[in-house]
Point group: C2
Chain length 428, copies 2
């Protein structure tokens, strides 16, 4: 007796998944019980890396999602529609689903998991975050004894690649983005990556699992890396930091969460500081486990297909050992309550800011006074450079409330001596 | 309906586990269905960090292992006996077992898993390797789609702490070991740690899971760190390496394995090079996943208890969703065949060696000739220093067969000009 798989999509990840399933010698023996029964594609005749028996390929994806012969649907189309509708249709037809689709899960997770619970099927999503790195399974299965305090991730390979090159080459964002696009490390429309939206989808999923509740994507504060300049990277370096696009989900003392994505100054001795290029890593802090970090390639055919196949194996393991009278409580999603996400103004963090000011005595004092008036305690304030007839002043704060910091900045921005505030970044 | 737990042992890990189970607010809700029903200790009256209702503590551990009311046995006594007998007794009485005992599993895993399969129960062992870091579960559940090529771990916190301090303080092994003992980072009898035996147990377990077969512990080549000196660390540093005690399980082209523990020169830019102090990390290479690394504290009450409780949650999840007609194929152990482990002489690796020689012309040539005669190709051979009237010569090879290298060394050691060969280390 085997399990029949319907594969929706035969792009990079779909092809990688098929290659594992069609060539399973040396892998887990359970894979031999799987059959790729149907593959849904947009065009039958396109030349492909993998070959299937006649009749396996079809352009009728809906027929796959509803085919009574199929046990497990693998959704690797990406994008919102038709992925969402096909997942829901497969669930309604009693099929388990494995998906790599962070966009659908972060937006429609509540709808999808409610439907799955009602139908008594599983929706597995390891491949949606961090490529092949086991992140979802550890959060669901291994770390359940912990009170998770904070998850901090580098979960977007494109931006990490760009920031790493900016760091190494002392280059500017636009030029390196263009080169990354030419090399295939960034999309023609790079917005989802460089504006932090992809990382926002992923941290929403991570936060939901780490803190046991639903997350509204609109509550996730996202800033991208377009405004990170070579100047900031150089100053950060002098101060002992590298700049990384971090996705952070943190439990606050009032039991609300802060969930956010933004470029961040990371101390060079922090384990995340040395995660470079297209690599991803997720740093988890919990009680009593302390700190752990999970690291690997965050995208690409091989790593993502590894995660998809891991999910299929888990599913088949459960199906073989269970009577499916009740869903496995660690592998199903029982969240019903939405987590309370605190507004970004309430965030308590350290800040870095750079000011261009007129080069005259007393400016540092005025800036310091504005911060002091708003209870913003400073770690350092230094005149770092002279640019023409302007002075460059760099400030690093202690932990302060973001709202207070912003109010102080507004006041400082209105001072006659201040030319501009080219950069404001948070510090880990 | 809840699940009753029998806890064997109330030392560091047992206490940590009890603390999680007795104080489960904010952790996975499934924990509320668990009850610590009996705790086996050596003395009832000892003052303890955790309190139990009257009648829970008992000195009769065998009665716990055979108690029909108990569903799950947690074995955190450590050591070989009575741990092995109690685990076997619990299995024979139809109980699932969670253990942190790498020594028992690496030596008696075949006996224990055969008994468990016959009885239809699970033996879970995440806590036996790498403290709270999810290593066993990823190898069992997430990475099954891969052909694992190599697993390289820093899996002993004591030796990593000692080597890190030797590196930072330029100190010698004996003095830092004594200090580590005073601070509680090393045992009074440090042999299991510093001679590589603990790491050997762990890499045997990892290899078994990564490569899908049983491992005979006697086939695991173990060298410890007693002979690593401050001189070696200094030379390694100059050459761009740090010295780590690595546990390595690698698949050879002839499909045999090499499984070994030894101090190793690790290039400074390798992710394992920056794993310092008591931290552990496991670096996994597979096809198609590429490289991943899992990192965290490798020991201690909190991390190890986190792993124990993760295993309990997994077990309960399976029990709730299954009819137990068949064991979950990823969580049970179906290995029947022993892996073929190739002898250390067949290993192909790079070497570092340091020679003390008479300071006269021609010595380097003679050493080079001996290596060349045995097909040992050198990357560098340099006279690194003069010590009194002796010259210090440091050699780094390319990849060579260990047997050839050892034969060349024997020949070199017999040369009249060679005073001694104080150090031979492998290079990653």
């Amino acid at each position: 007796m085997g399990y029949k798989i319907g594969l929706l999509g035969l792009g990079t990840v779909g092809t990688g998944t098929a290659e594992i399933l069609l060539n399973c010698e040396g892998r887990h023996p359970l894979l031999k019980e799987l059959e790729i029964y149907r593959v849904g594609v947009s065009s039958i005749d396109k030349p492909r890396q993998v070959q299937f028996a006649p009749g396996v390929l079809t352009t009728d994806l809906e027929a796959i999602a509803t085919d009574p012969a199929i046990d497990i649907i693998i959704e690797v189309i990406g994008g919102l529609e038709p992925a969402r509708s096909l997942i829901l249709k497969a669930i309604a037809h009693g099929k388990h689903v494995v998906t790599a689709n962070k966009a659908v899960i972060s937006r429609y997770g509540d709808e999808i998991f409610s439907a799955a619970n009602q139908a008594g099927v599983y929706v597995m999503l390891e491949a949606s975050v961090g490529g092949g790195i086991p992140i979802i399974h550890p959060l669901k299965q291994s770390l359940g004894g912990n009170r998770i305090q904070c998850v901090t991730g580098i979960v977007n390979g494109t931006t990490n690649y760009i920031l790493t090159r900016m760091q190494e080459e002392k280059g500017e964002f636009e030029a390196i983005l263009a080169d990354a696009q030419a090399l295939g490390y960034a999309e023609a429309d790079p917005s989802a990556d460089v504006d932090g939206l992809d990382a926002g989808d992923k941290i929403a999923i991570i936060a939901s699992l780490a803190f046991g509740g639903r997350i509204r994507l609109k509550d996730v504060h996202c800033e991208g890396i377009r405004h990170v300049s070579a100047t900031e990277i150089a100053y950060a370096d002098k101060l002992g930091f590298v700049i990384k696009l971090l996705a952070i989900a943190k439990s606050n003392p009032d039991s609300s969460l802060s969930v956010r994505v933004h470029p961040t100054l990371v101390p060079k001795n922090h384990p995340l500081a040395s995660i470079n290029g297209v690599y991803n890593a997720v740093f988890i802090e919990g009680e009593p486990i302390g700190q752990i970090m999970l690291y690997g390639r965050g995208a690409g055919a091989g790593p993502t297909a590894s995660a998809v196949v891991g999910d299929i194996l888990n599913l088949v393991g459960i199906l073989k050992s269970g009577d499916a009278s009740e869903l496995h409580p660690l592998l199903s999603c029982s969240h019903e309550v939405y987590c309370e996400i605190s507004p970004i103004d309430e965030l308590v963090t350290r800040f870095y800011a750079r000011f261009l000011t007129k080069d005259r005595p007393g400016v540092i004092g005025k800036i310091g006074t504005c911060f002091g008036d708003r209870n913003v305690s400073l770690e350092s304030i230094v005149q770092a450079d002279i640019r023409g007839d302007l002075a460059e002043i760099v400030v690093v704060t202690h932990d302060v409330r973001e709202g207070d910091f912003r109010q102080a900045l507004a006041k400082i921005g209105s001072l006659e001596a201040i030319e501009s505030i080219p950069s404001i970044l948070r510090v880990l």
